[in-house]
């Protein structure tokens, strides 16, 4: 160790380095630092940074240098984000994009390989099954931080119309902006579909574009522990209220690299439903499991029977299936592809996943067309019975069903390996903030996916938190202080609770099977909303975050 440092000192002796503060050349200082071997350590470290001669350094951060030489003192960061999903990366990209916060020293800890995520690539007609719909306000946030330009737009699909109907009563509502815009204008976008991997890659590219100054990405690394720091009296500051994260490398690097300790002025938990940051902050969550699973798959669709007008118009479809435990939705992807999200009971989900591809497709098409009774019957058919296939059953039953007008084109293919399921849950953290801790995204709230709002809420959190941090920095506030963070919390807690609650209510209303007061109320509600333009536009504006 010591020889490398001595060599480093020698090399720098030859190089014409000058102090960035007083422009004293390095050589004049070397003479005095060589007198004592102990003082060489700071010199060698200083080579990694813009060089500042010891005289000036003494003036700038005498205390900092001394506590920096202790092995147990953590490295200080302004913002440490745990979790490199869309929310965590979005926060980092937003902070790097603003001139006010771009000088903050930031770190991100992600257990997956971020280099792999950055190199993610798929064939043009292959689509990942993890797809999200971005509301216009999310898109404008992504534009404002320069991330949208990094998105591969050929893999992104906007849609301008959304058909939602009740499989039990048949009442329907159509969400489009036609009542707000004149027929000569371009149709307004309801939402933009993008693969999460495409978004993550765009955010990583945006972060990479901002340079690596004051930025540390701990990829393939997990949080081994979070604890409070120590008072470094008398030589250093009091870090007893600062969270200190021990970052442990995973994978092959785990053997060679030692865990690193970093202290955070603000520790952001973007670390998902089982957030370690939330556990450290001792924030409880309320919530329940829906007892439902969401099935996702990437589907190829047949050419639509009637071409859309205008030609660029795309439609999303969602049908509530009270008898099967939740809605089925088909959201458009480029080139006549679509992503499926079907919320249903775990038994149904297991059954659907066990079906061979043609039978699975028949079930998806049936779910948009047939009555509840037919669907219930088909859900119980023996999947191995080759003489009596799902396809035949669908074809026969469809003849005897009056089909709604708004059904999607039939699904003709499933991309291999994309059928998957995940449990549906509702969670809401009791609070989003704690001293020097803020929660964003799924760490703060997990909601029912029936409105496709989860990622949008997470990115709205990030937009609000980054704005809050900007305000704090420009007003001399400590970004980890509760007085700073309460601005974020008060801006986001209620909207998130409102949308999460609305999704929960919708889920529960559309889980009452059969005819009855709830079904009548549902159909009356949808019918009334569909006929009252101002109510509908109010709902749409709320849903889209305008």
């Amino acid at each position: 160790m010591y020889t490398t440092e001595a060599r480093g000192t020698l090399d720098s002796y030859k190089s014409p380095i000058v102090c960035t503060v007083c422009t004293a050349p390095l050589s004049s200082i070397i003479r005095c630092t060589l007198q004592s071997p102990n003082t060489m350590r700071p010199i060698s470290r200083a080579l990694l940074r813009p060089y500042v001669c010891p005289t000036c350094r003494h003036g700038i951060g005498a205390g900092r240098r001394r506590f920096g030489s202790k092995s147990d003192t953590p490295e200080l960061y302004d913002v440490v984000c745990v979790g490199g999903g869309p929310a965590g990366l979005g926060l980092l990209a937003a902070l790097r994009a603003s001139p006010i916060t771009s000088k903050l020293k930031v770190a991100l800890i992600e257990s997956q390989d971020l280099n792999k995520a950055k190199a993610w690539d798929l064939e043009p007609n292959q689509f990942s099954n993890r797809v999200s719909s971005l509301t216009p306000s999310t898109v404008s946030f992504l534009r404002s931080i320069g991330a949208y330009d990094c998105l591969d737009v050929t893999r992104v699909q906007e849609y301008q119309d959304m058909q939602v109907w009740d499989g039990q009563t048949g009442s329907s509502i159509s969400f489009d902006w036609s009542m707000e815009t004149s027929p000569f204008e371009e149709m307004r976008t309801v939402a933009t579909m993008t693969e999460n991997a495409n978004l993550v890659r765009a955010l990583l590219r945006r972060i990479a574009d901002s340079g690596d100054e004051n930025l540390s990405l701990f990829s393939n690394a997990t949080v081994a522990s979070i604890e409070n720091g120590k008072d470094l009296k008398p030589e250093g500051p009091d870090l007893s209220a600062w969270p200190v994260v021990t970052v442990k490398p995973t994978g092959p690097a785990a053997e060679t690299e030692t865990p690193k300790r970093i202290a955070a002025r603000l520790l952001v938990g973007a670390d998902g439903i089982n957030s370690p940051v939330r556990a450290f902050a001792d924030i409880p969550t309320q919530g329940w499991d829906y007892g439902r699973h969401g099935i996702v798959a990437t589907l190829a669709l047949a050419e639509p029977a009637t071409q859309p007008f205008p030609a660029s118009k795309r439609t999303a479809y969602q049908r509530f299936l009270p008898a099967l435990g939740g809605p089925i939705a088909l959201l458009p992807l480029p080139n006549n592809h679509a992503t499926l999200v079907w919320s249903t009971t775990p038994e149904n989900a297991a059954y659907l996943k066990s079906l061979p591809t043609p039978a699975f497709l028949a079930m998806v098409n049936a779910a948009f067309r047939l009555d509840m009774t037919d669907l219930n019957y088909m859900m119980g058919m023996q999947s191995s019975d080759s003489t009596h296939s799902h396809q035949d059953e669908l074809a026969w039953r469809a003849q005897h069903t009056s089909l709604p007008t708004q059904i999607p084109p039939p699904a003709t293919g499933v991309q291999t390996g994309t059928v998957a399921s995940f449990p549906l849950r509702f969670r809401h953290a009791a609070q989003y903030i704690s001293p020097r801790v803020a929660l964003v995204g799924d760490a703060a709230h997990v909601i029912h996916p029936l409105a496709g709002q989860g990622l949008n809420l997470g990115l709205a959190d990030v937009a609000s938190l980054s704005k809050t941090i900007q305000y704090a920095v420009s007003h001399g506030m400590d970004v980890g202080d509760l007085l700073t963070l309460e601005r974020y919390s008060s801006e986001r807690y209620l909207p998130n609770a409102k949308i999460g609650g609305a999704c929960d209510l919708l889920h529960k209303m559309y889980n009452v099977p059969g005819e009855g007061p709830v079904a009548w109320a549902r159909s009356l509600g949808l019918g009334v909303v569909d006929r009252l333009p101002f109510v509908k536009s109010f709902l749409m504006k709320n849903a889209e975050g305008y």
Partner: protein, 359 residues
């Protein structure tokens, strides 16, 4: 000699808060009762060694320290007001630097915060001082250094303790870009301010220089101080004159206070000091007569500018006061929204004011 009474809290703001949040638990009221009763405090706390702090004061200090910086504590409204102070200063500086000077964006300004208390403003400004002096200033307040003074040993001690919890501010304290001095404005002007170390300080009499030091500050701030001047020992006029003396020519004296009008009387005297649970401020906390109106501040400053100029190198006179650059804007607290600058609301209660000492 002494111009500042060591109030532990800008009481007007506290009163305002208590009217808005009347559910404050009573223990915190008793906590502040000794501080607000003038008889229990010495009007001047000049001890510079921490060893002179009595056990009583220390226990009081520790209780006070935790609540002064408690975001939900009695000073909450003051904390919420703090960002507005930055904005008001920035607006003054934006007005002052009309010439496109390349150095005008650098962090070059030396601040003096008079009556810093627990350091709510001083610490927040110190946080904006850049570590390395190169490049443009990170904020429009462009601070290069901050000297914060308060006559209360307890509050200075508490402010220093709190500043250590932020490594950036702590490093500024160590390098001297940020100083907390347990002293009075008069002593700063006389040049015998005590050394700002937490170690047992030197005897203040070691430096008996009574020569007035040349003015050294670009910005002097006076937030929620003017209404606490003790009429027995000083007057607002002589106090403001001294503030102006500490200013370099071209510098700004910036402050905030409360006006003495009917709305503020109802709010601060009638509602805030009503019996619990409506009011939680002990009766007699406020001396409404000490509140000052914008035109009074303006008048004193005009007079003060002339006096300050007379004692300096240049000749003063009425010419100094005539072209006085004066700014004044009211601030209103709206529950659920926060503080807002409302031009024209100066007479309703809280307001910011600023004056520039011309070149």
């Amino acid at each position: 000699m002494a111009s500042l009474r060591p109030r532990t809290l800008p009481l007007s703001v506290r009163a305002l808060r208590s009217t808005l949040r009347s559910t404050r638990p009573s223990p915190s009221t008793s906590l502040f009762a000794p501080a607000s009763a003038p008889s229990t405090q010495t009007p001047l706390t000049r001890a510079h060694s921490t060893s002179s702090v009595s056990a009583d004061e220390l226990s009081h200090f520790s209780a006070l320290a935790s609540s002064w910086w408690d975001p939900m504590g009695p000073s909450r409204i003051l904390h919420l007001m703090n960002p507005l102070r930055h904005e008001f200063i920035a607006s003054c500086l934006a007005e002052g630097s009309s010439s496109p000077d390349p150095t005008s964006s650098a962090a070059t300004l030396n601040y003096l915060d008079v009556g810093c208390g627990g350091g709510i403003f001083a610490e927040s400004l110190a946080r904006t001082i850049p570590i390395g002096p190169t490049g443009p200033a990170p904020t429009p307040t462009r601070a290069a250094s901050m000297t914060a003074i308060d006559p209360s040993t307890n509050l200075i001690q508490m402010a220093r303790e709190h500043a250590r919890m932020d490594p950036t501010v702590d490093s500024h304290l160590r390098t001297g870009r940020f100083k907390y001095l347990n002293t009075t404005l008069e002593d700063v002007l006389a040049g015998n301010a005590p050394i700002s170390t937490s170690a047992p300080a030197s005897n203040p009499n070691q430096n008996p220089s009574l020569e007035l030091t040349p003015p050294q500050y670009d910005i002097v701030t006076l937030f929620e101080v003017l209404e606490h001047i003790d009429p027995k020992t000083s007057t607002p006029l002589s106090f403001l004159t001294n503030c102006l003396r500490a200013l370099k020519p071209g510098g700004w004296l910036i402050g905030s206070t409360i006006s003495r009008t009917l709305p503020s009387f109802i709010l601060n005297q009638v509602i805030a000091e009503a019996p619990w649970p409506i009011g939680v401020v002990p009766r007699g906390t406020h001396e409404w007569s000490k509140f000052v109106n914008p035109d009074e501040v303006k008048g004193w400053l005009q007079e003060g500018l002339m006096r300050a100029a007379d004692t300096g190198v240049s000749r003063g006179g009425s010419a100094v006061a005539e072209g006085m650059r004066w700014k004044c804007v009211g601030a209103i607290y709206v529950p659920g929204i926060g503080w807002k600058m409302v031009p024209g609301s100066e007479d309703w209660g809280n307001y910011f004011w600023a004056v520039r000492k011309e070149l």
